[in-house]
Amino acid sequence: MSASIRFSLPGRRLSVRWLASALAAIVGLLAAAGGVTAHGPDPLVGSGRWNQDQALAFRWRTGYVPTSAIQVAIRNAAAEATATRASQAASFAYNTAGANLIGYGTGATCGVNGLACFTRTPTSSFTMWLREQGHVYDWGTLKWCQAYSTPPSGCYDAENIALDEFGHVEILDHHVNFSSESDYGDAVVQTKSRTNPIAGWNRHAFGRCDVATLQVQYDVRTWTAKYSTCLSLATTLGLTSNPSHVASGGTVTVTATLKVANDSSYVRLALNPLSGRVVTLQRSPHGKNAWATVGTMTAGSTAGTYSRAIQLTAATDFRAVFATPTDEGLRAATSATVVVAVP
């Protein structure tokens, strides 16, 4: 196939104008196809998931028990993975009867260059290994920061590395950074871990793009929970009035329903009700398209609903507005107009 696309123009040189035209066409086509790497939620390792909130207990592998300092680091990482997952992803905890084995030392099956490695078999088990302090590679000698009272330059933080591995065990593949890695801080699950004292070397919480994938795959914990800013989820806003018409001077209750949009790529987040958000009611004299803000709607009795009672003396158009929040990955929505007749 490669031979079939080679150019063969013996004795001729391509003109600059021809080349410029060809290049412009190619660039245009590539742009139209969106040939730019995404910067978003972490990709997935395989397709298997743990059960929601599945408790994964681990113990030390016989014969390959970590040093006490590394044990502390791994236990801390397990607690951090659990505490910062912001979703119903699996939780991790040490237990002497745990079914999942974590080893440390010369038995590590991490390949010739690996610091740490994992296997995962949802919903059955996982394994994890960390290489031993002082392991000699072609690229240098492994230094765990935990092995020193004062972490030396170039040491790896075992807690950060173990958190990265727990992220893999959950379902996370390495984050797709910009090629300059300027967005390194968006994820702990990274292709290259950093050493002391480079920024990010001792991060002990999942990053926003780690959390984004965990939320998509395992769902958020509550309807008021914030969605990772690494996401950009469309929302829908419905609006109803009860009653639909009222005598002059009468009162109607207008109710909005805010949800995550129904998109298959949202997986477990699709159609989630959104509670605890700010939804604003607007009104206009019927048919005038002159919108004025009535005020913020109050939380309704059902998840994702917001309501407001209002007295009317003339036919009125209503709509609800959800503005794009600055602290989570949801997009704005405006409801369709609801007309309340006042005969």
Binding site: A22, G34, S180
Partner: protein, 204 residues
């Protein structure tokens, strides 16, 4: 001096043809790779047709050879079997011998390993030449990035981006004159995993 001039002319011609080849290949493949960035939310890795990967040139290991994992140390008497590894990747220039990359961090078949930034496998290229990554046709590319640092940098901090894309082919221009540790990260289609490959690129 005369030799240098000839080399530059040949290099420019090869680079131009390589670029056009890649462009036409993309057109021929219908530019079918979708762009996750345009999706409103998280989406699975896009599936890239094997045909969208730059065809193997002469001198590159065969697909069967490329799928052979790197040697692994013994797992020890009580340890489990070694991890499965992703396929090997080679880097080369048009008309040159491709060189298999050094494998760093990877995920593959529900397992994976994390490594530092490695110096990589030595390869010599000319200034301005187009470097093209070759993978077995069985694996598609969902995303890729390429960057370089000075040899010996284990963090990748301060890396200079050389290219990125949301489908194959994986190709980018050679770095400036000097020696560079070049990393190409590939995320395989269908959530099959990812791999970091490294080359110690000497630009003469």
């Amino acid at each position: 001096m005369e030799r240098t001039v000839l080399t530059v002319q040949r290099t420019a011609s090869r680079a131009t043809l390589a670029f056009l080849s890649i462009g036409l290949l993309a057109i021929g493949c219908g530019l079918s790779g979708s762009n996750p960035a345009s999706s409103p939310g998280p989406s699975p890795a896009t599936s890239a047709s094997p045909a969208s990967i730059t065809p193997r040139s002469s001198g590159v290991p065969s697909a069967s050879a490329a799928l052979t994992p790197s040697p692994q140390p013994s797992a020890g008497p009580a340890g489990p079997p070694s991890l499965a590894e992703p396929p090997a990747a080679s880097l080369g220039v048009e008309g040159g011998d491709a060189v298999a990359g050094q494998l760093g961090s990877f995920t593959w078949q529900n397992g994976g390993s994390d490594s530092p930034w490695l110096d990589g496998s030595p390869i010599h290229v000319g200034p301005g030449e187009r470097l093209t990554l070759t993978l077995p046709a069985e694996v598609g590319v969902a995303n890729w990035t390429a960057g370089r640092v000075a040899p010996g940098n284990r963090d990748g901090s301060g890396a200079v981006g050389m290219g990125e894309g949301s489908s194959g082919p994986v190709a980018f221009d050679a770095p400036p004159r000097g020696a560079w540790s070049v990393n190409v990260n590939v995320w395989f289609s269908d959530n099959r995993g990812s791999a970091a490959y490294y080359w110690l690129v000497s630009v003469d």
